[in-house]
């Protein structure tokens, strides 16, 4: 599904002015009686330093625009195949550019902006870590794919044969790609279906953002991550 079809379904046709520049999406939209900022990537973007800077700048401008007034929610649209892979990007410190994006997201949260991510297309590894994964609440659209690495590549790196990994992927959400697995582990809060009323879901999701990180507790509750919450608690209470 192209992003403009998605926007028309999400916001009621005409109630947004999101435009794309290359792989970068930016604009604002109306959700019920609220205005929200929209910042995103499209077409399975490989996130490089330039794109990271555009995202960061849009977040900073959203914070600046609302200084002294009620902070508007920020809606992140994540579609990324991961970080750009190149010697040039590594030389300049792409990890530092991603950290800068994360600091900007944190600033927006501290300034009272509610932060919601919609995954459409792909959310992969470093690209997802930098952009989208730090929101208060994360929702996957029906076509979304979420992963660190595909099983074939994982088999190469871990030297565990593919058949074994495929067999385990069927019973363990811990390394198999897919939004359902992330849902079980608390990494994704909601998965939307095509039949849902998206404007209603969007309004409900925006209303249920919280600024604390409850993902480990959710993962425990849903049974996908049984040890993260108790282990962190064990250390915190020691």
């Amino acid at each position: 599904m192209k992003e403009h079809t998605i926007f028309d379904r999400l916001f009621d046709a005409g109630c947004h002015n999101v435009t794309s520049t290359g792989l970068f999406l930016h604009g604002s939209a109306q959700v019920g009686d609220r205005s929200v900022s929209v910042i995103g990537t499209r077409d399975h973007a490989a996130i490089d330093g330039q794109l990271a800077l555009r995202i960061a700048n849009a977040i900073l401008q959203a914070v600046r625009a609302d200084a002294g007034s009620v902070p508007r929610p920020i809606l992140f649209i994540a579609d990324t195949q991961g970080q750009a892979l190149s010697r040039h990007e590594e030389l300049l410190g792409l990890n530092g550019y991603f950290a800068h994006v994360a600091r900007c997201v944190d600033l927006a949260r501290r300034h009272g902006h509610h932060l919601l991510t919609l995954i459409h297309g792909e959310a992969v590894s470093g690209g997802f870590l930098a952009f989208g994964m730090l929101a208060d609440r994360i929702c996957a659209l029906p076509d979304a794919q979420v992963r660190v690495m595909d099983l074939r590549a994982m088999s190469r790196v871990t030297k565990i044969n593919l058949e074994r990994l495929e067999e385990l992927a069927g019973v363990s959400p811990v390394f198999a790609p897919g939004p359902e697995n992330y849902w079980h582990m608390g990494g994704i809060h909601e998965i939307w279906s095509s039949d849902d009323n998206w404007p209603e879901r969007l309004a409900a999701a925006l209303a249920s953002t919280t600024d604390t990180d409850g993902r480990a507790a959710i993962g425990l509750e849903r049974g996908g991550r049984q040890l993260a919450a108790p282990t962190a608690q064990l250390v915190a209470d020691a």
Partner: protein
């Protein structure tokens, strides 16, 4: 003196810790006796570690209270799995309550542990949020990078969230490791076996010249200790101010300028040249003291 000349690069996580903090001051949380191992590795018949590859605890450093985590690069590349990540996250949560002088992360990691990739990715995201939260509360987090696995993947991002990044020349910092880039993009893009090139692109001297690392120290445990002690003392007199719109706009401008200035750079030599080192090609041969002196003279 001979006994004190211990290479940080060669040392295990526990050796680094014992040389870094005040003698006998470390008390470990969730120690190996508790056998908090990874159930996911067990299911794959992969080797286990009773500490899941990370030591977390409380200690003093030059008399100051610190919370500290040390990743063990020798255990599956210091990779972050569910338990490993949760220990670091718990330590950061604890910092909000105990308010130590600093939290020290001895990073030695390739990033997410693929055997439990989804859990690892979420764990790193949780660590990122926790580091941001701790620093927003005015408690500085320092990353120390000088191990054989460097700081890559999500741990490369975590490292750059820290208020201070102390590196040795041998330390490496980045996002995608050279092997990954070579595998996907080809050997002409990045030859991971060209060790000198790898260090010119990811190593401590390059990161320090760019400003990504805030200190460059010798590959010795006491050198890391001295830098950490010095930084703690500095934050005692100049407390960490949470990032503001102004400081992040400045950082935005700085990173934008770097992209423009080095629009086609592919080798650390170009960065050192632009930084006006007397002879960029000789930078890899400079001692840390000579490097810092030249950098200081340039600043």
């Amino acid at each position: 003196m001979i006994g004190r000349r211990i290479s940080y690069f060669e040392a295990s996580a526990r050796m680094r810790l014992s040389g870094l903090v005040d003698t006998d001051s470390l008390s470990e949380f969730c120690p190996p006796e508790m056998r908090q191992t990874s159930p996911h590795l067990a299911r794959l018949d992969a080797p286990l570690a009773f500490d899941d590859g990370v030591v977390v605890g409380r200690a003093t450093l030059a008399g100051h209270a610190v919370l500290i985590a040390a990743q063990e690069g020798r255990f599956i590349g210091g990779s972050v799995g569910e338990v490993h990540g949760a220990k670091i996250r718990g330590l950061l949560d604890k910092a909000l309550v105990e308010r130590p002088a600093a939290v020290l992360l001895l990073v030695d990691s390739g990033g997410v542990r693929l055997h439990e990739a989804n859990a690892g990715l979420i764990a790193i995201s949780e660590i990122m949020r926790a580091v941001l939260r701790v620093q927003a509360a005015g408690i500085p987090v320092f990353a120390l990078v000088g191990g054989s696995c460097g700081a890559f993947g999500g741990m490369g991002i975590v490292t750059r969230l820290c208020a201070e990044v102390v590196m040795s020349e041998q330390g490496r910092l980045g996002l995608s490791g050279p092997e990954v880039i070579e595998t996907v993009k080809g050997v002409e893009e990045f030859d991971s076996r060209d060790r000198a090139l790898v260090w010119r692109v990811t190593g401590g001297k390059l990161r320090r010249a760019l400003g990504e690392a805030t200190r460059l120290v010798d590959d010795l445990i006491p050198a890391f200790r001295a830098a950490a002690a010095d930084l703690i003392a500095r934050y005692q007199t100049h407390p960490l101010a949470p990032a503001s719109l102004g400081t992040l706009l400045d950082e935005q401008a700085r990173l934008t300028a770097r992209c423009e200035r080095f629009a086609s750079a592919r080798d650390g030599l170009e960065i050192w040249q632009a930084a006006a080192f007397t002879d960029a090609s000789r930078v890899p041969e400079l001692t840390v003291a000579e490097f810092n002196l030249q950098l200081g003279e340039l600043a």
